[in-house]
């Protein structure tokens, strides 16, 4: 089985008001120091989780497209040296559509990047302003066009269900997005996360989030339109042509192992969960002192692993294989999900069952969190 490697670059030019990722704005970044540190963190992980070749690498952030291409090149070189690349390795980089970043696309491709995911977020200038983005629609489309001419696999992100957005407006925006012919689309509903500026705005009544009923209608419309052009909703917010799914992300959702390096990165090594220091400076210091950035390393009890596998697996259209999970965690299928409730929600059309596979239907997807609360037995949920 191939390994997955996640590399986190925590810097952005500006913090977006909705964003609760581990992203930070710094006037300068000491590239050499970061390079040495990321390499050290990677080596540490490779000594503990070596062996198999890498099937996927993902540069996430923050804004990894702000990384000097040399650094990307060095990291990929080291990763290949440490693990080796499996045939057809998927190497993704998240990019923001500013002109500076777009100019690097070709060098990045030469360094080994073969898939980009562009943070376009909206095809409406006013909405881009509201979302606090630094680019406009024109720049976004230029970036997309450039990427499509350079990389074989290109996808982009949009944020919808914005306050005041109507179903018709979203339909128009989505149809336009579909017209660019990318093989992957991530379509996220705007959620107001604690600790973000939007959370404060909402609290102060500066805007009212879109109501759940309208958001649900938009969700349904989204699946309908994406499916119509063959971009299947393989995960709650992700749509792809067959074979174009993000293999890297599938690793998470199928609850397979992944290494995560860089500030705030999470990883799973067997039953061990790793978390790295979130704050860039703390992470750097940890590297200097210990040679790795890990802040927490914990063996998860099988019950907790099972609950994680369910949380992740049920995000996927393909669902989960109860027998397989039951064997993997030595927990009987009946203790993995509440069978009576499963039947009840299957009757309600929110779940499906097929042999030992179970999953959430299209109608159930927008209700996933509530469904999980119903299906996952309390014993699996550590308090």
């Amino acid at each position: 089985m191939a390994r997955a490697l996640y590399i986190h670059w925590p810097f952005c030019l500006k913090k977006c008001p909705y964003c609760d990722f581990n992203s930070h704005v710094r006037a300068t970044v000491e590239v050499d120091r970061w390079k040495a540190a990321l390499l050290a963190d990677m080596r540490h992980e490779a000594t503990l989780a070596g062996g198999e070749a890498l099937g996927s690498i993902f540069f996430g952030g923050g804004t990894p497209s702000l990384m000097p291409p040399d650094l990307v090149d060095a990291l990929l070189g080291e990763a290949e040296r440490l693990w080796g690349f499996a045939p057809g390795v998927e190497i993704t980089l998240e990019a923001n559509p500013s002109s500076v970043e777009t100019a690097n696309f070709r060098i990045l491709k030469n360094a080994g990047i073969n898939r980009v995911s562009i943070g376009i977020q909206s095809l409406d200038n006013e909405a881009l302003g509201f979302l606090g983005r630094l680019h406009n629609v024109k720049e976004a489309l230029t970036a997309l066009e450039t990427a499509q001419s350079i990389f074989e696999r290109v996808g982009f992100d949009l944020i919808y269900a914005r306050p005041g957005q109507s179903l018709d407006q979203w339909r128009a925006e989505l149809l336009r997005a579909l017209s660019f012919g990318t093989g992957h689309l991530s379509l996220y509903q705007l959620t107001i996360e604690d600790g973000t500026r939007f959370a404060t705005d909402v609290r102060q009544g500066k805007f009212v989030p879109l109501d759940d009923d309208e958001a649900a209608d938009m969700f349904a419309l989204t699946s309908e339109l994406t499916s119509a052009v063959g971009l299947l909703p393989y995960e709650i917010s992700n749509h792809a042509w067959k074979g174009e799914e993000s293999r890297h992300n599938l690793t998470y959702w199928r609850y397979q192992d992944y290494c995560g390096i860089g500030p705030g990165a999470h990883g799973r090594r067997g039953q061990i969960a790793t978390v790295r220091h979130r704050k860039p400076e703390n992470w750097l210091e940890a590297i200097a002192s210990y040679g790795h950035g890990i802040s927490e390393e914990r063996a998860l009890p099988t019950s907790e692993q099972a609950s994680e596998a369910l949380l992740m697996g049920l995000r996927l259209r393909e669902g989960i294989d109860l027998d397989m999970l039951s064997q993997r965690f030595a927990i009987s299928a009946g203790k993995l999900v509440d069978a009576a409730r499963l039947d009840f929600y299957t009757q309600q059309g929110l779940m499906w069952q097929n042999g030992h596979r179970i999953g959430v239907t299209g109608a159930g997807m927008p209700l996933l969190d509530a469904l999980l609360g119903e299906l996952v037995p309390a014993e699996l949920v550590s308090a």
Binding site: F21, D213, A265, G267, E308, D369, A370, V381
Partner: protein, 605 residues
């Protein structure tokens, strides 16, 4: 022992906030009962709740020693009586222990309903009433207008009313002089067999049960063997004294005197208000008149929010009961709320006080079900059971309707006193609550209405409504006038087609539909959306009279799951599970505790 001629026993009658407690404090201060440093405000209202709400729950008494202008020293016993109709019986016993009363009326507010009810009671006890117009320091004070009101409305001479400001200490000596000169001394025969009235009792952790008594005849002293004539028990007096307001032991209490005794009694239950205390040997032949067993009139279920607190609740209720024999409790179990107690109270305020003390003093989170009154039901003969009569105080025990011959419900006579601008809305409220108008009179810009009303309409939310439609200006008082037949039905609430016992109630058929609709609407807002739609219905027997539907939830999902960070999602799930643990499951529906509480408090919108 004090010479009868030098004793004055009096109470203070006042509408809430007219200054009863403040005046009492002043009188204590003036006569030197406490030094300035010892005076904490409102000495007589002991409990936090009494202080905060400004109501007196337990009768208190202080003995003041006052040297009057005539040069003589008097023993003045001031009784602070409970200020609420719920405690009407206790009030009547306190009044029976006195020969007079100070009628305190706020110079800016004038006469209010509560004043009236208490003053009439006082007059019935042949009291000498000494009017005191208080708060004359207020810019809005209109003492002359109030004087006229007292004469017009109450019909007593107010020409010599004392003008006072308890707050600024004006007129305090005049009040004391009036007590001495106007209120008659008590009568009594020292040589007759002991007759003392049990005015009130409470539990003291050090002394056991402390009993407040008024000696009518004879004398009571330490070491005396006494008998409680109604209770039928015998006790050895081990302490006799009075409050100045500090507890002070005395050798004895003679005729006409008010004070306390202790006698190694463990439970207030054994010391019933109104009982007559006499000696075991050579005791009185007949008891004092006016004894009554008080019966709870309002019932409700009290349940711990956390089932694990049941034992703590049981202990706390038992401990409160040590000090208050007037409420009853028995265990109850409800499918919705688990194990708890069905408790009976003298009235709504009493209920609130007990509930508040449980929450506050014993730190318990409680769910209180809708208050209900006691119904008398005549059952027809059935195949297995004879015709009989039952008293029903829990809707959950409502019998098979086919067996019900007749249901009687308690009625009250309510006196409402209001500025006339609110009269229209108040009449409508009474009418809506099945009231029967008995009387309507105007005095100045005020109206006094008398209505007969079914008590179950009053326990519902009458008082809150009255206060809100009159912006707090209307005052209200009531007395019970017995049972009357009514067309009463049990209304059940069904959530997702399952009856929710804690929400069922007994209502008059004519208001059932409106009440049911209202309840369904409330629940619709209170029960969170689920993954499926939920019908909420109100039904009488099998017939649905109101219905609402809670729409299914449409969206609940974390859109983005970033970079393999599962922790966040797990936290969410944990939170969800914890939230669920606090809900009650009905079929597949989880009803949050708050929904029960809010639904049952329908008045507070």
């Amino acid at each position: 022992m004090t010479d009868l001629a030098k004793i004055r026993n009096f109470s203070i009658i006042a509408h809430i906030d007219h200054g009863k407690s403040t005046l009492a404090d002043r009188l204590i201060q003036f006569t030197g009962g406490l030094t300035d440093r010892e005076m904490s405000e409102q000495v007589l209202d002991n409990m936090d709740i009494e202080r905060e709400r400004g109501i007196t729950i337990k009768a208190q008494t202080v003995r003041l020693t006052y040297t009057a202008k005539d040069g003589e020293t008097y023993e003045l016993n001031l009784m602070d009586t409970p200020g609420h109709v719920d405690f009407a019986y206790e009030v009547s016993r306190s009044l029976a222990a006195c020969e007079g009363a100070l009628l305190v009326v706020d110079a800016a507010q004038g006469v209010e309903a509560q004043t009236l009810a208490n003053v009439y009671q006082s007059i019935e006890h042949d009291h000498e009433i000494v009017p005191v117009i208080n708060k004359i320091d207020l810019p809005a004070a209109e003492p002359e207008k109030v004087r006229a009101e007292i004469e017009d409305i109450i019909g007593i001479d107010a020409s010599e009313a004392v003008l006072a400001s308890a707050k600024s200490g004006i007129g305090i000596e005049e009040v004391l002089e009036a007590v001495v000169s106007k209120i008659p001394p008590p009568q009594g025969d020292r040589d007759a067999p002991l007759k003392a009235m049990l005015v009130d009792s409470w539990y003291d952790p050090y002394l056991g049960v402390v009993i407040l008594v008024r000696v009518m005849d004879g004398a009571i002293r330490k070491g005396l063997h006494v008998k409680f004539m109604q209770g039928g028990t015998e006790h050895l007096i081990d302490r006799v004294g009075c409050f100045t307001p500090k507890r002070t032991d005395l050798p004895e209490l003679g005729p006409g005197e008010i004070g306390f005794i202790t006698a190694q009694i463990k439970e207030v239950d054994e010391a019933k208000v109104g009982d007559t205390i006499t000696t075991v040997k050579g005791g009185a032949a007949s008891a004092l008149p006016g004894y009554k067993e008080v019966q709870p009139v309002v019932f409700c279920g009290i349940f711990p929010v956390d089932a694990a607190d049941f034992e703590k609740l049981r202990e706390s209720i038992a401990r409160l009961r040590l000090n208050d024999a007037s409420f009853s409790f028995e265990m109850e179990s409800s499918a919705a709320l688990g194990f708890g107690f069905r408790c009976g109270f003298l009235g709504l305020l009493h209920l609130e006080i007990i509930q508040e003390r449980l929450t506050r003093e014993y730190d318990l989170d409680l769910i209180t079900t809708a208050p209900s009154v006691v119904y008398r039901i005549q059952l027809r003969k059935s195949r297995t059971d004879d015709a009989r009569e039952i008293m029903l105080h829990n809707p959950a025990d409502y019998p098979d309707p086919s067996r019900i011959e007749q249901i009687d419900e308690p009625w009250i006579k309510a006196t409402i006193y209001t500025p006339d601008e609110y009269l229209g809305s108040i009449l409508k409220l009474c009418q809506d609550r099945r009231g029967i108008q008995i009387d309507l009179t105007y005095v100045g810009g005020r109206a006094q209405v008398t209505y007969e009303l079914p008590l179950n309409e009053v326990v519902f939310d009458f008082y809150d409504r009255l206060k809100s439609i009159s912006r707090g200006y209307a005052s209200f008082d009531y007395e019970q006038i017995g049972l009357r037949e009514g067309d009463l039905v049990k209304m059940s609430i069904l959530v997702n087609n399952e009856p929710v016992d804690a929400l069922s109630m007994i209502v008059h058929r004519s208001v059932a539909e409106a009440r049911g609709r209202h309840m369904c609407e409330r629940l619709k807002d209170l029960i969170p959306r689920h993954l499926f739609k939920i019908p909420v219905q109100a039904a009488i027997g099998g017939k649905v009279i109101a219905r609402e539907t809670i729409a299914a939830m449409r969206k609940d999902v974390t859109a983005k799951c970033y970079g393999g960070d599962i922790t966040r999602k797990k936290k969410l799930l944990e939170k969800q599970k914890k939230g669920k643990a606090k809900m009650r499951e009905y079929g597949n529906v989880s009803i949050p505790q708050e929904a029960f509480i809010a639904a049952l408090r329908m008045g507070e919108e």
